[in-house]
Amino acid sequence: MNQKTAARRPYVRSMQGWWRRDPFFMVYMARELTAFAVLAYSIVLVVGVMRLAQGEAAWNGWLAALQSPWSLLLHLVFLLSFVIHAKSWFEIMPKTMPLMFVGGQRMNPAIITWTGWGATIAASVALFALALWGQS
């Protein structure tokens, strides 16, 4: 130990792994990490668009890649991430959207959140119905 550090060693709290200190931070980190799944899914889709433009053989190759167990695992991770994203997106929404007043009172944040989740369920049912209609 040299003279300088022995004379004065102020305590500096390490920021290493800060997000593991509090459950609130862990929820925050999980929410921010969903961005990687959204990005990766966007890349999977844009590769699909490229293959579609290249013709039938290329497209079938992309479809075959989607049937691999690794792709299934990847999409299960995507699925979990999108659920976390949808859940947190509408939880934060009362704080990010412009203030809404009903009868002179701030609108209850829970109503905004539940409306959002309801919209997600409605949109999901509509998409799935569209897919069922498309294959018939």
Partner: protein, 118 residues
Amino acid sequence: MKRSNSPIFWALFGAGGMLAALFGTMLVFITGIAVPFGWTLSPDLMNYARMHAFAQNWIGKGFIFVIVALFAWHAMHRILCSLHDIGIHKGLLAKLCCYGGAMLITLIAAVKLLAIGF
């Protein structure tokens, strides 16, 4: 006074986040699980003829473009803003990488979708 460009990126982030929250989960389920493995939907739903026709239709083309591009802008903006949390400065290089990546995905989607034709 120089105008900030951040409202543009914030708007793209918000629009992409909203689409991801509303449609993302079911889209992943349909394109990545249900159709490839034939669970609840037929693998034929995404055959070449159907998907090519879907991408030629202007509604289908617009839907694919908006989903791909806005998901990319949403994700890249969020990743850029989170860099600070893991101790990386949100400098010019970080901005160029993140927004450049989103722009690249957007351009590829636009060019290829136009190449598929109408």
